[in-house]
Symmetry: C2
């Protein structure tokens, strides 16, 4: 049995190099950029009006002119015009191109219109109300770096520079494998000794949040079937994510089957609760990784968040965010195990505090549905006082 | 011009009653439950072993028996057996049903096996290592309430109780309308006075995060076209989300068009930056809501988060979470406007601190891509010192 720290480090040492692929812009949300994104022109691309009003040449102001003949009306989307003389002005709308020979914009609120002329009531500052060409970004500048996660705001930047296709990190192909003769389908009525599948469906939902649609596979507790099906799955997927089949029971065939299939066990059993019988293995040449989680819902869910998500982030070249929270009440660590305790969070005055959920052990799905995440409590003998900051793992 | 507070309250007074629909379990992630979910049986449904080991009758221990004949092996998924006498035991795996007449489970680690007999090395406690029927939940108990957001863990609960179809709140049908002759498609090469569409694509990506796939519509700055197309859109959608077309310029036809179509303006212009020209209107009889955001990317993005998302949550019957963060540096409020300032966040010892991003006004898309969200600064004259907690709106 190895420590949490050791297990975590080993998992992160076995990331996959997934390569890149090109997807359409609107499919790229939630993915990770595999290319630097540069400005294809200056931003803004022209001297842009930031107000509705009139555009004038400031030289007119210096000459004492305060009344201007309207030469035309400019709106966003019109090509650039030229102010023919400094006794004239253009009416100009927000987003429109500043005319040549004009250098100052005065908002309507500071003007009066009469008979095709506009008078100003206040002396402007030279150059005001103009968002100048290239002041946000110069053409060629790197706007977004490789490794950036594509959020809604990033989609806006990609659109502006014409990226209707984007090169992103490939996602791993994942097969979620459930095992256990006690499991029946969701739509079935279980016999008294049976239960419905739930872990693989939870994992499906969690993986969809990171843009992965896994394949679901169920295996009966039969060594021959398990070996055959796992072999097929290893050929077709980058990652197998198993739940159940790795405790020390007589019917847990998974570790043996994986061994026969040439998977190297990196570790089995971690000094943690929940999720002690976590089994992790790899096939380095073929670039395969196997996360084999214990069958209890809370164990699987905790291990997915504690190990798989940071592994995925690192495989995608993204730094995992670290979160800490403040204990609202004292908690008792375990003398030899790292604990992942379900908590609810509350935010007050910029501080994130947590209360532990009194779940009924690792089988209690309902408390899991109420939890906002897990706190990580290192092994220890003495109670950790309220007010202490501890590591937090947010639930999907 | 009305205050932010007034505008926010008005928006939340015009929520839609969207009704319910039934979707398949795996499509329900991210939706909101419209039904209470009850346990269809006890959880766990039987006395369940929590260890791999042996099941015995504690009466044997009381009689001083420490060596048991193995009567059989029980794994998860096998129907319940009966222990025939208290000098016998069953080997039992995690998840298996406790046999009748047995009441205590001893883990393998505390036993020794020899010739079909198992001896125990330590006196057990009566009833140990059993997850008792109904101790998590009793049959008929409400496990999840109407209004619960469907997370990955909730999917697990729904699966366990056999909900392969779930009744959820309907989502509004949304049309995202961009306007402006200056806009060209992402794949087009803009002329010097043109820019590519970006707002509508950002909104598309943001709405997808809340499980809404909007329809995108672009309208040229032409009053007749705008009226005709908005009328069609009003017939087909619950919500129009417009960007551009609501500042005071001569070419902003939207408010007039909406008025002609029988939409009641609730307000236009809010004492806020960015996003001052925000226009909000409704058609109460036909249950239509119109969010008309200013055309600048930062304005649209801020308004979407500040107004639309809380509106959506309330329409779905979900309480919006409130977040606060701590200023890492002093900030200057505006004497008459509520400010929504772009920030990056950092978490340290359970405290969420923020630094403001020096964006170049409301046109700067790139700074928006770097921001984790906005802080809300109420209007005021005096600098707000570092260390103050302020409201935070997280970016999608």
């Amino acid at each position: 049995m190895i420590s949490f720290k050791n297990a975590y480090d080993q998992v992160l040492q076995h990331i996959l190099n997934l390569g890149d692929e090109t997807v359409s812009l609107l499919e790229s949300t939630g993915r990770v950029l595999s290319e630097d994104i540069r400005a294809d022109r200056d931003f803004p691309p022209f001297n842009r009006s930031t107000k509705d009003g009139i555009a004038i040449a400031f030289s007119a102001i210096e000459k004492g002119i305060t009344r201007f003949k309207i030469e035309g009306v400019l709106s966003a989307g019109m090509p650039q015009q030229t102010l023919s003389k400094d006794t004239n002005c253009f009416e100009i709308m927000t987003g429109a191109v500043l005319p040549e020979q004009a250098d100052t914009i005065i908002m309507y609120e500071e003007t009066e219109t009469e008979d095709g002329y506009i008078s100003i009531s206040k002396t402007p500052n030279k150059g005001q109300n103009i968002h100048r060409q290239g002041t946000d970004e110069k053409e060629g500048a790197i706007l977004l770096k490789k490794g950036t996660e594509i959020t809604a705001a990033v989609i806006g930047v990609l659109a502006s520079v014409g990226k209707n296709e984007v090169t992103v990190k490939k996602l791993p192909k994942i097969c979620v494998v459930s095992t256990g003769n006690e499991l029946v389908e969701v739509e079935d009525k279980p016999l008294p000794h049976q239960i419905r599948k739930s872990n693989s469906l939870s994992l499906f939902a969690a993986l969809e949040r990171v843009k992965i649609t896994p394949t679901l596979l169920h295996l009966a507790d039969n060594q021959a079937i398990i070996e055959k099906e796992l072999e097929k799955a290893l050929n077709n997927f980058d990652v197998l994510m198993l739940s159940g089949g790795v405790s020390k029971g007589k019917f847990d065939f998974i570790p043996d089957a994986l061994d026969k299939l040439g998977i190297t066990k990196v570790f089995h059993r971690v000094a943690q609760r929940p999720g002690k019988p976590f089994w992790f293995g790899v096939q380095n040449e073929k670039q395969k990784v196997i996360f084999s989680f214990p069958g209890n819902p809370v164990s699987t869910f905790a291990n997915y968040h504690v190990y798989f998500l940071p592994w995925l982030k690192k495989s995608l070249g993204v730094e995992a965010e670290k979160h800490t929270v403040i204990l609202d009440e004292p908690v008792q660590p375990h003398p030899t195990l790292t604990l992942f305790t379900q908590v609810t969070t509350a935010c007050h005055e910029g501080k994130l505090t947590v209360k532990t959920l009194k779940g009924n052990g690792s089988g209690d799905l309902v408390s899991l549905a109420l939890a906002d995440g897990f706190i990580r409590l290192p092994q220890g003998e003495t109670e950790i006082p309220a007010g202490t900051a501890v590591d937090f793992i947010k639930a999907s």
